[in-house]
């Protein structure tokens, strides 16, 4: 009996340091955030319980719906771009894996991922500058009349999504490339002997076997898509007007510019629920078999 207790205590001690940080700074804040969202917080520190009114205020605020739609638009453009480009790059790298230059090419595609979001935002703001941005100048030289991306309500979010894809696709590439390497060579050989075409091999062998990797990438990318903030702040600050104001930015402004902490906390809860819901849906949709 004593031994048993000793063992339980030992296991607890192994887990405790991690669990303490996790409870204090990860799980705890979610519950605390819910609590905060039920109050109206006076900047001086007084709090008044107002039940669900912060949520009702959100539901009634057209600016909130605008931010939600913008976030959805960003996610709808950025997620397929990031995962799709990542997959295509991985196929390229995988196809050329026997050449030494390929590791350098892969490094080139991956490197932007290591940049901090402010750098990404600043670079792309400069590249897309309406007057002197090299992208617009080059397009004009090619005889195309490009929109002034960041200053045009319809183009601001697609442009930010494109910059984000440039930033993050390299990470998904690594993930897909590793998954491609896991597919045994015999699979390809067998398919080729059976006379399968390249496209056939891709859709009947590669895609099904990559399913777990694609799912993982989609979940990760979805999360990062819905919490997008830094690149928007730097590239457009939510503009022109509020054409690219996203949920995280709405949260930031209500919390730290208008000092409506309760309402900002409510936005945090909404974001959390969106992420939770989408993850569950994508698990179900792609048929997740746990491989833990």
């Amino acid at each position: 009996m004593r031994r048993r207790y000793g063992r339980i205590v030992e296991i607890a001690l192994f887990i405790l340091p991690f669990a303490a940080f996790w409870i204090l700074f990860r799980l705890g804040p979610v519950l605390y955030g819910f609590f905060i969202s039920l109050y109206r917080w006076d900047p001086l520190g007084d709090a008044k319980f107002i039940g669900a009114r912060n949520y009702l205020n959100l539901a009634r605020d057209p600016r909130f719906w605008n931010a939600l739609v913008n976030t959805l638009e960003f996610a709808a453009i950025a997620i397929p771009l990031i995962v799709g480009i990542g997959l295509v790059l991985a196929l390229f790298i995988f196809a050329g894996r026997k050449r030494r230059v390929t590791t350098w090419l892969e490094a080139g595609f991956f490197f932007p991922y290591l940049l901090t979001v402010s750098v990404v935002g600043l670079i792309w703001r400069w590249l897309l500058d309406p007057d002197f941005g090299v992208v617009l100048i080059t397009l004009r030289d090619m005889g195309i009349d490009p929109p002034v991306f960041l200053n045009e309500p319809r183009w601001a979010i697609p442009a930010i999504a494109l910059a984000t894809a440039w930033w993050l696709a390299g990470y998904r590439m690594l993930l897909f490339r590793a998954a491609l390497e896991d597919i045994p060579d015999e699979f390809y050989e067998a398919a080729r002997i059976d006379g399968a075409s390249g496209a056939r091999i891709f859709f009947s062998i590669v895609v099904p076997l990559l399913r777990p990797a694609i799912l993982f990438a989609l979940v990760l990318t979805t999360i990062s898509g819905f919490i997008v903030f830094g690149q928007v702040l730097i590239m457009t600050a939510g503009g022109p007007g509020r054409a690219s104001e996203v949920l995280a930015m709405y949260l930031y402004r209500f919390g730290f510019e208008y000092l409506e902490m309760g309402q900002a906390a409510a936005v945090g809860m909404v974001l959390f629920l969106i992420i939770l819901g989408l993850t569950l849906v994508s698990f179900r949709w792609l048929g997740y078999e746990s491989s833990l």
């Binding site: 296991i11 050449r99 590791t103 979001v117 600043l122 830094g230 945090g268």
Partner: protein
Amino acid sequence: MTAARLGPRLLVAVVAALALLWVAPIAWMFTTGIKPAPEIFALPPTWIPQRPTLDHVHEVLSRWPFLRWALNSVVVAGATTVLSVLVSVPAAYAFSRLRWRGRDAIFLVFLSSMLIPLEVNVIPLYFLMNRLHLLNTYPAVFLPMIGMPIGIFLLRQFYINIPGELDDAARVDGCGNLRILWHVILPLSRPALAALVIYMFTFAWNEFFWSMIALSSPQMFTLPIGLRALQGAYDIDYGVLMAGAALAVLPTLMLFLFLRGSIIRGITMTAHK
């Protein structure tokens, strides 16, 4: 030359062109940072600076506490990394090498908290740090980044695949769990540890949203927040902005050129089940 031999070469050429295009924005940042102001806005744009200058670099370094920002970033990322490893190693050991009831269920609970990104929690964290009188300090920034499930997930995946006979042999020799962890498991798990270190360091080095909220005085800014402050001050003075961005990227680029293989291997491990 047959099509079969031409094919791969053509492919490599196309991919190489694409890779060049991919890194061009980074090159453009570096060249803009050393161009004098008139040349930055010259039409047509010049790809190679005609009269390179360090004026913008000097502006950033002399008028802003840029080196302090770099130091702050190193401290925050370093503390995050070290503490994450310290708490994740024993937990991952308990979740993989020890057998106990409820183990996998509890692990799954930890793991599912991947769905709680830092961004969702910024308001409660702000309240919490305010109560603890930690706002505008290093711990305010790094404490929330430590209990990340990726740490135990990554190490556990690795520990599971270490043969059990090794522990058994050590146990016969009278080793307890701590000594098994230290003398048997840790020496074998260097690749996983390296992966975790790389992942946590880059994560903390790049963290933006929470740092921006937690840090208020320019002396405490990390590099990403400092660059944001530069943008606030210079707006479209791209020479200075690109010089600042380039200075922030330079250490990353150097490190990447030296450790390219291990960084890519490490990051691949974090993404690969």
